[in-house]
Structure formats: structure tokens, C-alpha cells
Amino acid sequence: MPALQRIYSEYQDRGLIVLAINLTSQDRLNVINPFIQNNNLTFPILLDQEGIVSHLYKVTALPTTFFINPDGVIDDIVYGGPISEALIRIQITDILEELP
């Protein structure tokens, strides 16, 4: 998460959108806010309260990171964590190059 936050801060002006989705159906609501504050997260955190998103995206491990290009197509999926900062950087720069 800290790596994702660093990259979000760096690239958000160039059009990067980060959506973090909490699997609220498997988690407790009261732990979300302290987690956001402890990690100084500024990107939106969405709540998947009924597990619909995790079912649609076939999430079998946490965290799972989806890299989605400007056409809405999933470019890559990384299962598990912690995900390395360099890998996020490579994926993001590849995707941002596709932007008009």
C-alpha cells in the first residue's frame, strides 16, 4: 500500500486512477479508517459489502492487483503481496503511454 500511494502521488496528475477495494464482506468496517490513516492513503477506498466485485473479478487471494488500461481491458493481474514498487511503476508507465 505505501508503494501504491507513492506511485499514485507521483502519477495522478498524468491520469492515473487507483481504486482500492476493501472486501468488506470478509472484513470489519472499524479497521478500515485506522488503516487509511496509518498509511496516509489519499486514493479512494471502495467497500465491496456483498462480495459482488470480488466474485466478478474472481479474487482468490488478497491483495490482488489489477492493472487496467485506458480501454478498460485488464493488462495484468498480480496475485498476493507485497507487490514491488518497480513492478507497479513498470505497469503504470506502460499503461500511461497508451493514453492519448
Binding site: 508503494a3 474472481k58 482468490t60 487471494a61 488478497l62 493481474i77 498480480v78 496475485y79 498476493g80 507487490i83 514491488s84 514498487e85 518497480a86 513492478l87 511503476r89 513498470i90 508507465t93
Partner: protein, 241 residues
């Protein structure tokens, strides 16, 4: 597709685990076969350890070289355990160079080392197919055949299963030949010819393949080239034996 195995609170990357199992079982078979096929197995563990170390370090270095800016911005990622930060082609080149050095330093013949490793390669290809099935990569074209599997939004040819089944047949052939004492590089060349012919055939059913001149699959072209070289060398060797 089953990329992650959850054991309690621990998530295991199943594709990577299957590859490790493949290497281990391949090594066991290669060790068993070595004396029967007239090879000295004392080099086997050293060569496999060398290949593993050089393969990991080499594939990471090659990946860093290709994405230097990303690692310059995040230097700690150099030591990341993430297997997505490896370049298999670069790793293969490093392994090949290190094997050539090892062979020369120990006064061995390269063809003998290849024969020694052939059972390992053969078993590895079985598990490579299973690993690709688990990760959902190397998937097939859409099909209406009854054995199609549902991957990435449609029923597709289970190309990973085709590969694993064909690779099992190749393992049996390699086992049979090595028990017969086939050596002098012939064992490896037969394996290479068979495996490349399998890839040549199965790749016709694969989706999302890199192409050249619009329609020709790059993997098929590489497999055809490898098969031609293997058959040519095999024919020359079989004639001289």
C-alpha cells in the same frame, strides 16, 4: 485457472509451486537415470544448483537492464521476491553461458551434460503445462468441443493440458531411451525434436500468440527451427554411431 492456493491464512502461488515440484521430481528422475544411462551423476547436483542460482540472478539482472528507470526510482525492488520481475530469456542465456564455463572447467562434454539433464527437462515440461493451467496463461482458442475449459470469458482448448499430456508421453520415451543407454547427445536431441514438434502442433490451438508477417506464430517458427536443427544433428549423429 487456480493461481493461488490458500492454506489457512497463507496464500501460495500455485504456478510457482508447480514449477518447483517439476524441478524437484525431474532432478530425482535424472539422478536415478544417470548411472543406468552411463552418466556420472556427481555433476548433476552441482549443475542444477548452478543453473538455479545463475538462472535467478541472471533473469533478475536482465529484467533490471530492460527496466532500469523503474529500479533506479525504487532500488529496493532489486531484491523483491516477486517472480514477475524475472526475464526468462535473459536467465536462459546466463544459464547457457555458465554451463559452457562449467563444462570447460571440468573437462566434460556439453552433450553429456545435456543428456544428464534431459529427464529433468522432460519432467519440467509436464509441470510447466500444469503451471500455465493454474495461472491461466498460454490459453487456447475458443472451441465448442466437449473438453473445452472455461477460461477468460469463453470455452477454450485446454492447450496447457494438451502440453502436459504430450510431455508425460515424452517423459516415458526419455525414461525408456535412457534405460537403453542412449547417450552421446542423442537422448537430448530426441527430446528436443519431440518437444519442439509438440509445441509446433499445440501452438496452432493457442490464443494471443505473438505473430510475424501477420499470421505466422513466432513460437511455431521457433519450434520449427529447433526441430529442424535437432533432426539434422540427430541424423548426423545416428549415422556416425
Amino acid at each position: 485457472m487456480f493461481p493461488v492456493l490458500n492454506v489457512g491464512s497463507v496464500s501460495i502461488q500455485l504456478p510457482a509451486l508447480l514449477l518447483l515440484i517439476g524441478i524437484y521430481l525431474g532432478l530425482v528422475l535424472a539422478e536415478k537415470n544417470a548411472p543406468r544411462a552411463g552418466h556420472d551423476s556427481k555433476h548433476l547436483n552441482s549443475v542444477v544448483l548452478l543453473m538455479a542460482l545463475v538462472g535467478i540472478i541472471g533473469s533478475r539482472l536482465s529484467f533490471i537492464a530492460q527496466h532500469f528507470a523503474a529500479f533506479q526510482a525504487s532500488p529496493t525492488s532489486i531484491f523483491s521476491l516477486n517472480i514477475d520481475l524475472l526475464d526468462p530469456v535473459g536467465g536462459f542465456i546466463f544459464i547457457l553461458i555458465s554451463l559452457l564455463i562449467y563444462v570447460q572447467k571440468n573437462n566434460l562434454k556439453f552433450r553429456d551434460i545435456l543428456d544428464l539433464l534431459t529427464p529433468l527437462f522432460a519432467v519440467f515440461f509436464v509441470f510447466l503445462g500444469l503451471s500455465q493451467l493454474a495461472s491461466g496463461s498460454a490459453y487456447g482458442l475458443p472451441t465448442t468441443l466437449p473438453w473445452g475449459i472455461y477460461v477468460w470469458g469463453s470455452y477454450r482448448h485446454p492447450t496447457q493440458v494438451y502440453q502436459a499430456v504430450a510431455a508425460v508421453a515424452i517423459v516415458l520415451a526419455v525414461y525408456f531411451w535412457s534405460r537403453q543407454g542412449v547417450q552421446n547427445g542423442i537422448l537430448f536431441l530426441r527430446f528436443a525434436a519431440l518437444t519442439s514438434s509438440v509445441y509446433l502442433f499445440i501452438d496452432a490451438f493457442r490464443s494471443n500468440c505473438p505473430t510475424i508477417f501477420g499470421t505466422i506464430h513466432l513460437n511455431q517458427l521457433a519450434a520449427l527451427l529447433l526441430m529442424a536443427i535437432a533432426l539434422f544433428l540427430l541424423e548426423r549423429k545416428e549415422r556416425t554411431v
